[in-house]
Symmetry: C2
Subunit: 85 residues, 2 copies
């Protein structure tokens, strides 16, 4: 495969990744609303630890756990600010 | 749905997201090797612009383009350092 073939593959993967991240955001928003209703805090460090552990457990590479968590820290940041809206 | 149900859904989504990000990393690694063979630069701002435009085009919300690009900047950072290895 040439660079252009791999790039086409990346574009297809990005469409799927964008869709899934948005589905994750829908779920985070729903949780945010339930938290607001029950006056629970948005920031729950214990739950975030569970998410990171789950991500590490699901990681089959080639990314290292550190690289993947680096990406997930940004995902979680964005989701947290979504819940605060 | 309660918070615990949404969290189960998030865990399932994360498993899919982790798999797709790793597939994206495989493709980025393959491109990195082809670039090395042809002594092409790892950093290609024009291609990165195409990726961001594609991500914006695929975005159907609820995340804003800004929030999604914020996540993708981190994904691209990690992929770029992968190609430099």
């Amino acid at each position: 495969m040439e660079i252009s073939d791999w790039r086409r593959k990346i574009d297809e993967l990005d469409e799927q990744i964008v869709r899934l991240i948005n589905q994750r955001a829908e779920a985070a928003k729903a949780i945010g609303q339930l938290k607001q209703k029950d006056t629970l805090p948005v920031y729950e460090p214990q739950r975030e630890k569970v998410v990171f552990d789950h991500v590490r457990g699901a990681n089959q590479g080639p990314l290292s756990d550190t690289e993947l968590i680096h990406i997930y820290e940004r995902i979680i940041d964005v989701m947290r600010s979504l819940q605060k809206k």
